[in-house]
């Protein structure tokens, strides 16, 4: 006689017909992991935008409205360069040549001779020493004394717009995660209730024999914790593979969607996807426990 087998009978029989719940939870976990990955990508992208544009400024010297002033552009640019060179905290100064400026507009306007007649502004690109503080308003005021139609662009407007875009993606991802958590909890709660119904005889007997509610709840909560962990690990794993494939495609030079930032997650970010099965498991555990305790309170 196999003694170990004999004394370790599970209080609850193995669930039959639970596969649909596992599928639902697996799909939920897949979507949750995609949302989580998207939020991390958006966060990383916003960071790289900030890094790329922070610490730079562009001085624009516009063509004045009055035609007599045309020949002053060169001298105005020279004067502006002098002012920039004398400003503490400015690291490099790169005036953009007319050819460079033409190149910037070429994609939109073409390279016709006509473009050469356009009143293109003179651009001066400058970088700021890391950690140095430059008062942009004061700098702009000084520049205006030598070049009245100049302005200083420190890219804050552009960065803040990109930041808003990234924040929108991140918060949307969080909202999706919250919705998925609610749906998972509802699905597990429903399944637990169905399980309670199916095992009503067992629950009633255990209750009758003096089992504490906690003892009965534990049998259910372990069942749903384990099956949810397994199903959501598969879902999150598939999402991880999806991100890896996206990264691999990019590595191979295939641009999945033009204009979108890279879709591959790095290993540290991939580890965060493990949070999806862990949190799903906890939700399932808590939901199963609360459902069983609530149901048992209804019995005398």
């Amino acid at each position: 006689m196999n003694e170990k087998q004999r004394v370790r009978g599970r209080i609850l029989p193995r669930e039959k017909g639970a596969a649909p719940l596992d599928v639902v939870i697996g799909v939920m976990a897949f979507l949750a992991a995609l949302a989580l990955g998207a939020s991390m990508l958006a966060d990383r992208q916003a960071e790289s935008w900030r890094e790329g544009l922070a610490g730079r400024l562009t001085v624009q010297i516009l063509m004045p409205d009055h035609p007599t002033a045309v020949r002053n552009m060169d001298s105005e640019t020279q004067a502006a360069l002098e002012i920039l060179r004398g400003t503490p905290g400015i690291l490099t100064i790169t005036p953009m040549s007319d050819a460079d400026a033409s190149k910037l507009v070429e994609p939109w306007l073409g390279a016709d001779a006509m473009v050469k007649d356009l009143p293109l502004p003179r651009l001066i690109d400058a970088t700021i020493e890391p950690g140095a503080h430059v008062d942009f308003a004061e700098l702009e005021a000084r520049l205006k004394t030598v070049a009245p139609d100049s302005n200083v662009d420190d890219h804050t407007r552009w960065i803040s717009r990109l930041q808003t875009l990234a924040d929108t993606i991140i918060y949307a991802a969080y909202a999706i995660l919250a919705l998925i958590a609610v749906a998972t909890a509802a699905a597990v709660s429903f399944a637990t209730r169905a399980g309670l119904e199916a095992h009503h005889d067992i629950v009633a007997l255990l209750h009758q024999m003096g089992a504490h509610s906690g003892f009965i709840a534990r049998a259910f909560e372990w069942h749903y914790l384990i099956s949810t962990l397994a199903a959501s690990a598969v879902g999150a794993g598939l999402a991880g593979v999806t991100f890896l494939l996206a990264g691999g495609l990019e590595f191979a030079g295939v641009e999945a969607v033009p204009f979108l930032p890279p879709l591959g997650l790095n290993p540290r970010e991939l580890i965060w996807l493990l949070a999806v099965p862990v949190v799903s498991g906890l939700i399932a555990w808590a939901t199963a426990r609360l459902s069983v305790l609530a149901a048992l309170r209804e019995i005398y």
Partner: protein, 221 residues
């Protein structure tokens, strides 16, 4: 041990199944509960093993007034009661051994600690070679013996049995009654609901009879 005072019971808006039931079971006594089918025997047992609250009246169990007791005190009270259900209520997915061991598991005892007791008891009820069998593969009489073994394995303070010899042959029935008697001698208060007149006559114990939901004391033990 157990005390009923003017207890009445009705299910929903239906008629009263039990009316003004008043009695007392002293510790260590052996009592038969008889009466025709539908007289309320099973309902009376349900009230005694805390499956239903009474519609009215007072029930005191092990010195605890059930009307005022906290719900959290019930599991401990229930664990002091062994019940042989008329429909056995065995867990179909567990072996005979595991079914009998269930009360001990609920009491927090470890397999190493109870394995010997459970095996001995299963041998005593004649199921030594059926320990690994699951209830659906057992005959009615075998299932009944598993149910009885489960009810007595923890040496409860109170044993309630609903028709415990209904499905077994007279020889086994006598053996089971001896088991109940043994338990009774060890201090368990026993109440058996039965139709079996032969059993009652031989045991010459106290007999209470339910007629139309009212309790009549036929014989003092």
């Amino acid at each position: 041990m157990i005390r009923f005072e003017n207890v009445g019971m009705r299910y929903g808006p239906g008629p009263e199944v039990l009316r003004d039931v008043t009695f007392q079971l002293e510790p260590g006594t052996f009592t038969f509960l008889t009466g025709p089918s539908g007289a309320g025997k099973s309902t009376l047992l349900k009230l005694m093993f805390l499956a239903e609250p009474p519609s009215r009246g007072l029930i005191t169990l092990f010195g605890t007034d059930l009307a005022t007791a906290r719900r959290s005190a019930f599991p401990a009270l229930r664990r002091r009661i062994g019940v042989v259900f008329q429909d056995f209520r065995l867990l179909a997915h567990l072996s005979a051994f595991d079914n009998v061991a269930l009360p001990l598991r609920l009491a927090g005892r470890k397999p190493d600690d109870y394995t010997h007791d459970v095996e001995e008891l299963l041998n005593w009820v004649g199921l030594g070679d059926r320990m690994n069998a699951r209830p659906p593969t057992l005959s009615g009489g075998e299932q009944q013996r598993v149910a009885i073994a489960r009810a007595v394995v923890g040496q409860p303070d109170l044993l309630l049995a609903d028709e415990p010899t209904g499905n077994v042959d007279p020889e086994i029935a006598q053996r089971l009654i001896r088991l109940f008697g043994e338990l009774n001698r060890l201090g368990t208060t026993v109440l058996i609901a039965t139709h079996d007149r032969g059993l009652i006559e031989r045991a010459r114990s106290r007999e209470m009879r339910l007629v139309d939901g009212r309790l009549v004391e036929l014989r003092r033990g």
